[in-house]
Amino acid sequence: MANRIPRVAVREQDPKVRATNFEEVCYGYNRDEAMLEASRCLHCKNPRCVNACPVNIQIPEFIAKVNEGDIEGAAAIIAADSSLPAVCGRVCPQETQCEGSCVLGVKGEPVAIGKLERFVADYMHLGDAAGSEAPVSASERPAIPLEGVQGMEKHDNAPANGVKVAVVGSGPAGLACASDLAKWGYDVTIFEALHKAGGVLEYGIPEFRLPKDKVLKHEIEEVKRLGVKIETDVIIGKTVTIDSLMDEEGFKAVFIGSGAGLPKFMNIPGENLCGVFSANEFLTRNNLMKAWREDYLTPIHAGKKVCVVGGGNVAMDAARTALRLGAEVHIIYRRTEAELPARKEEVHHAIEEGIIFDMLTNPVEVIGDEKGWVKSLKCIRMELGEPDESGRRSPVPVEGSEFEIETETVIMALGTSPNPMISRSTAGLETNRRGCLVADEKGATTRPGVFAGGDAVTGAATVILAMGAGRTAAKAIDDYIKAQS
C-alpha cells in the first residue's frame, strides 16, 4: 500500500548559528506536524517496530492517538513502557530499532517514530510550546511548575508493599528499574555518586542534544513522582557498601546500574601531556559542571584547535562541544566514514556544523612543547584490510606514512569500561575479563538478591538498551522478592 505523504521534515537550528550556541539543534515537531506525520503509520497487524524497541513501546497505538489529536492518550500509552520518552525520542538510535524495521522504510522513508515520541513527551510538559523555535536560553528559561502539567499528575501505583529495594546509579538503567518497581508498590531508593541525578544523560550527553533543565530535569521529576527517592552524593563501594545496604539498612534486593564510567586511553607516548583529556573529562566539565556558562566556576580548555580521537557518539559530542567553545575541530578515526559507529544523524549534524573528519588516520604519539603542553598529534595513515570478527574491515597502518597534525588539545573518545568500585567492594559479585558484572538474561548476578543491567553488564551501549535491561531486572527483582516471602 502506497503512502503518499512524505515524511514530515523536522525543523532544526541553522548549522552556522547553532555552532556558536548550546541551544538544542532540533526543534522537534509542533502539534500540526506531529498529527500529519502520525497519519503516515500503516498500523500493521504485526508491528515490527514494537519488537524492535528494547522496551516494547506500543508504537502504532500511541501514534493512532497522536493522529486523533489525543496527545494525553498517546502519553499514557508510552508511559506504560517508558519512563523517559523525551530522552529516548532524542537519543535513541531509531534508525536501527523501531524506524529501522518500519515497513514504510522498505520503499520510502519510515514513520518518524522518535520525533513523534519526543513530541508527545514535550507536549505533556510544554503544551503548545512543544516544537516552537523560540530561543530561550537555559539560564533565562523559567522553571516549569510540575503541578501545571496535565494528565501526568496521577500514577496508578500498586499499594505500597513496604519492601525496600536499592538502585545503584540514576542513569537510564536505574531510572527505568526504579520506575517499574515503584509502580508495583516497592519502596525504592536510588543512590547516585554524583551531585545530580541522570548519570550519562547529565554528565555525558550535551545540552544541544538533550536540554537538561527543559527535558531531563522534568523526566527525573516524573520518576520521583512515582515515589522513587534519589539520594545523591552516595558512592556505593565507598560511602556505603552493597553489604551494608542489605544487612544494615534493610534493602531486600539491589539493582546495580552503575554504567561504564572509566575512560580508555590509547597508551601511546605523550598521553599525559597537558591538553590531553578524556572525552569523559571534557564532557563532564561542560555538561555536569556547566563550564560553558560564565556564571559557573569549573574551567574547561579547548583552545584554537582540537583533535578528537574516536568515531562514536561520544566523539561527536566532544567534537561539537569543542566547536561551540570556539575551536577548529578534527575527528581522527582509523577507519572510514562508512564504519563510524556514531549515529548517522550525529555525523550529519557534525559535518553540517563544520567538524573536519580525518579518516583512515590513527594517532601514534602526542608531541609536547618545552612546557609540557600538546603541540601536535603524530598520526599514521591507515588502509582497510580483511574483515575482523565484528564484520568490519580492520584498519592496517600504511608503513612510513607518519605525519603530524598541529593541535592545542587532544580529546580521547575511545570508549569506556565499567567502574570496578562496586565489584571490588562486594563479595560474591563476579566480573568478566572486560570488568563487566556477570549477570544472566534476567539481570541476576552471581550474588543472590543482587541484580544488574545496562553498561555495567554489557560495557558501553545505548540509553534504550540500558532502560530495557533495567525493566527486565525490575521484573526479576519482583519475582525474587515474591519467591522469598
Binding site: 565507598k238 572509566l262 599525559n272 559542571m289
Partner: protein, 286 residues
C-alpha cells in the same frame, strides 16, 4: 545538604570546618579525601579529610584560600550548608590494611608541609591509637602559617617544628629538619610526606638519600573523584595511574613529580581569566 557545625580560622587564610556528613564519617579512613561543592555554580573541590567522628557523624576539612572556589568555601558560616560533600574517596593509607605483626615492626616519620599538616593528623592519630611509634615534622614558611601544632603533640611521640625563616622551631625546610633528626639518631622504616607537590618532590629525594621508603599523597586535579574523568592521571613507575581511585597515596620514589606539577597547573590560564573578570566562554578560542 551538608551543614557546617563549626568554623575556625587557623591562620588568616586557612580555615577549619566541621561538617555534618554521617554516611561519610562512618566510612572514612586515614589517607582518604572528599569532594565539596559549595553551591550550584561551584566547582567540585577535592579536600583531604583532617578528622572524622563517627559518633557525631562529622568530618573535618581544612581549606586554604587559593582561588575563587576555595574562597567560596571559606565564606560559609556555621549553620549554613554546602550543596554537596561526597566521599570518602581514594584508598585508605597502607598501614590501615597492614597485619598487626607487620605493623609492630614499623617506625613512622610523617612529614607535613603547610596545609598538608591537616591530613597528616588523622594518620598520626591512627598510628598512635594502634601503638605504632610515630614522629611528626611540621614545616611552614613562617610561624603564622603553622597549623595543628597543639593537636599533633597529643598524637605522636616526637613533634619537630621547622620554619623557613626560623620564626618558630628549627630554621630550615622539612628536608633539613629530616636530615637533622636522622643525624640525631632517630631511625625510621617509613616516611609519609604530605604537602605541596614541590615539597613532596624534594622531601622524597632526601628520603631516598637517607634510605627511608617514602609515601606521598598527591593532590591532583579531579572532577568526579571516582575514576570517571582521568584528570588526576599521574605517572608512577612509568605507568599511568588514577590518583582518585588508585591513590591518592603512592610510592614517592616512583612518582613523576615534574609531570604531576605541570598537570596540576593545567587550568591556570582559565582560572586567572575567571578571577580577573567574567569572560564569555563561547567562542573564546577564536
Amino acid at each position: 545538604m551538608f551543614e557546617i557545625l563549626t568554623k575556625e580560622m587557623l591562620t588568616p587564610i586557612i580555615c577549619r570546618m566541621k561538617v555534618f556528613a554521617p554516611r561519610l564519617a562512618a566510612a572514612a579512613q586515614p589517607g582518604q579525601f572528599l569532594i565539596v561543592r559549595a553551591d550550584e555554580k561551584g566547582e567540585r573541590i577535592p579536600l583531604t579529610i583532617s578528622d572524622f567522628n563517627r559518633k557525631e557523624g562529622t568530618v573535618t576539612i581544612v581549606t586554604q584560600k587559593i582561588g575563587a572556589s576555595s574562597a567560596d568555601i571559606i565564606a560559609y558560616e556555621p549553620g549554613e550548608c554546602f550543596a554537596d560533600v561526597v566521599g570518602p574517596l581514594g584508598l585508605a593509607s597502607e598501614f590501615v590494611e597492614m597485619a598487626p605483626e607487620q605493623l609492630k615492626q614499623q617506625r613512622y616519620i610523617l612529614i607535613a608541609g603547610g596545609l598538608g599538616t591537616a591530613p597528616v593528623y588523622p594518620q598520626a592519630k591512627w598510628l598512635k591509637e594502634h601503638g605504632v611509634p610515630v614522629d611528626v615534622i611540621i614545616g611552614a614558611k613562617t610561624k603564622d602559617l603553622l597549623i595543628y601544632t597543639e593537636e599533633m603533640r597529643d598524637v605522636c611521640d616526637n613533634l619537630f617544628i621547622c620554619t623557613d625563616d626560623g620564626s618558630e622551631g628549627f630554621k630550615g625546610m622539612g628536608t633539613n629538619m629530616l636530615e637533622h633528626v636522622v643525624a640525631e639518631g632517630h631511625k625510621y622504616t617509613q616516611a609519609v610526606i604530605i604537602g605541596p607537590m614541590i615539597m613532596m618532590k624534594f622531601t622524597t629525594l632526601t628520603c631516598k638519600k637517607l634510605g627511608i621508603p617514602a609515601i606521598v599523597s598527591l593532590n591532583t586535579l579531579m572532577v568526579d573523584g571516582t575514576g570517571m574523568c582521568g584528570a588526576c592521571r599521574v605517572s608512577v613507575g612509568g605507568k599511568t595511574r588514577f590518583a582518585c581511585v588508585e591513590g591518592p597515596e603512592f610510592d614517592g620514589y616512583e612518582v613523576d613529580f615534574d609531570e604531576a606539577m605541570r598537570r596540576q597547573g593545567q587550568y591556570k590560564a582559565e582560572e586567572a581569566a575567571a578571577n580577573e573578570h567574567h569572560v564569555c566562554k563561547i567562542g573564546r578560542g577564536k
